[in-house]
């Protein structure tokens, strides 16, 4: 199998795999929010930015090549990812104390992982529309980070309920239904698209506090460990040794 070097460790890959897929399959975490092993990469959050032979690249979209030298774990990249995460926080309305996703939220967990203790930038406090029209699913656009995971999941399920519209600060999540409201769409609570949101933008109702705060996913483990445990098996290398 061809190999590349990631932070000094040899990572084998199958031709056609991305740097991210090879790294996760090898048990090495590269931070990410919009990437998910079950879907085509979106390449928008840029948290997976790594240095490949001296140039920045997104690990989730870059095909692995034999002999490439990849750096992911440097202090410079931690700082870059910290600033990106802080930008995600200030461009939405992310108030963890009043969010039912707190403790299960990947954006929050990314902040913890990167040692984020403030938001650094001025806040946008954007005005975004809440959609409470669906009996089983709540859409709180304040918390959306535009990762398109719901868009990709719903497209795969053949419903295409979600899409992103607009550009820049006007970007917003829109609904494919006659009224534009979630309640009039084909989305069901059992759909993967209803459960895949990494933040608290799309949440299943009546499930919010089944697990108490303090005992949730990222209260128990860091996003690095949790992500590897959950995503590595989806790449078919669950039982393989960690390459380190």
């Amino acid at each position: 199998m061809p190999e590349f070097l990631l932070d000094g460790r040899s990572v084998p890959f199958e031709p056609g795999q991305t740097v991210m897929e090879a790294a996760i399959a090898a048990g090495i975490y590269i931070p990410h929010l919009c990437w998910h092993p079950a879907f085509e990469p979106h390449g928008s959050c840029k948290l997976c930015t790594v240095d490949i032979d001296g140039r920045p690249a997104s690990a989730c979209t870059r095909p692995a090549e034999a002999g490439m030298q990849v750096t992911s774990g440097s202090e410079a990249l931690r700082r870059l990812r910290l600033r990106l995460t802080q930008m995600l926080f200030v461009e939405g309305n992310h108030f963890c104390p009043s969010c039912e996703k707190s403790g299960d939220c990947e954006l929050q967990a990314m902040g913890y992982y990167l040692g984020m203790t403030d938001n650094h930038y001025p806040h946008f406090y954007p005005r975004r529309e809440l959609d409470a029209s669906h009996p089983d699913i709540l859409l709180d656009r304040d918390r959306c980070i535009f990762c398109e995971l719901c868009v990709r999941a719903s497209r795969k399920e053949g419903k295409s309920v979600f899409a992103l519209a607009g550009r820049g600060p006007q970007t917003r999540l829109v609904i494919n239904s006659p009224s534009g409201r979630l309640g009039d769409s084909e989305l069901d609570a059992g759909d993967e698209a209803a459960g895949i949101c990494p933040v608290g933008a799309i949440v299943r109702r009546n499930t919010a506090y089944r697990v108490p705060i303090g005992q949730r996913r990222y209260d128990l483990a860091g996003i690095d460990e949790e992500s590897l445990a959950r995503e590595r098996p989806l790449l078919g290398r669950a039982d393989g040794p960690t390459e380190d």
Binding site: F95, C96, P97, G115, T117, D118, N119, H123
Partner: protein, 180 residues
């Protein structure tokens, strides 16, 4: 030989005093703290005038003109300024009003709210004017250190205080970083 004592001031702006309660949760460590430090202006001392201090601790965001004045005074007179809690860091729950115009908030609370007797928007000259938006502390003055959490745990507060008292750069270990 006695070292000069560190002076600490604290205040709650647009906050709920929850961070101060969490501060008190350092429990018997308060005794240790008072051996090393004296409190200046703080809800704990009831001193109203702020003197020169080594450490200023700010709870809460900035929602009115008085908050701005107090905050600027803290920045001017404290060597190290620590923003503590979600509200100081991102506006927190009070900043949920930022999605509405100020007038609409006042009308909802004082003119249209249920069970109001003689509805009127308060206009006593002693009341500090409200800002159009609730701001986090760092959007008004330079902040040196931040302790997130709603409230931050007593251990997180103690960890940062110990570092500052010892002249070290505070660094919160990952388990003490929480935003909720």
């Amino acid at each position: 030989m006695d070292r000069p004592k560190i002076r600490i001031a604290t205040t709650s702006l647009a906050g709920c005093f929850g961070c101060h309660m969490s501060f008190l949760d350092i429990d018997e460590r308060l005794l240790e703290l008072t051996r090393m430090a004296d409190f200046d202006r703080s809800p704990l001392t009831d001193i109203k005038q702020l003197g020169r201090c080594d450490i200023g601790i700010i709870e809460g965001g900035v929602c009115n003109a008085e908050n701005v004045e107090v905050l600027r005074q803290f920045r001017e007179r404290c060597t190290h300024l620590v923003a503590i809690g979600a509200c100081a860091i991102n506006g927190g729950i009070p900043a949920l009003r930022n999605r509405y115009p100020l007038e609409a908030c006042l009308e909802e609370a004082y003119l249209r709210g249920e069970g109001l007797h003689q509805p009127a928007i308060p206009d006593d000259p002693e009341l500090p004017p409200l800002l159009e938006k609730v701001l986090p502390v760092h959007e008004v003055v330079q902040v040196d250190y931040t302790i997130p959490g709603c409230p931050p745990s007593a251990d997180a507060i103690w960890s940062v205080l110990c570092a500052l008292l010892a002249g070290r750069e505070p660094e919160l270990p990952r388990p003490l970083i929480h935003y909720d």
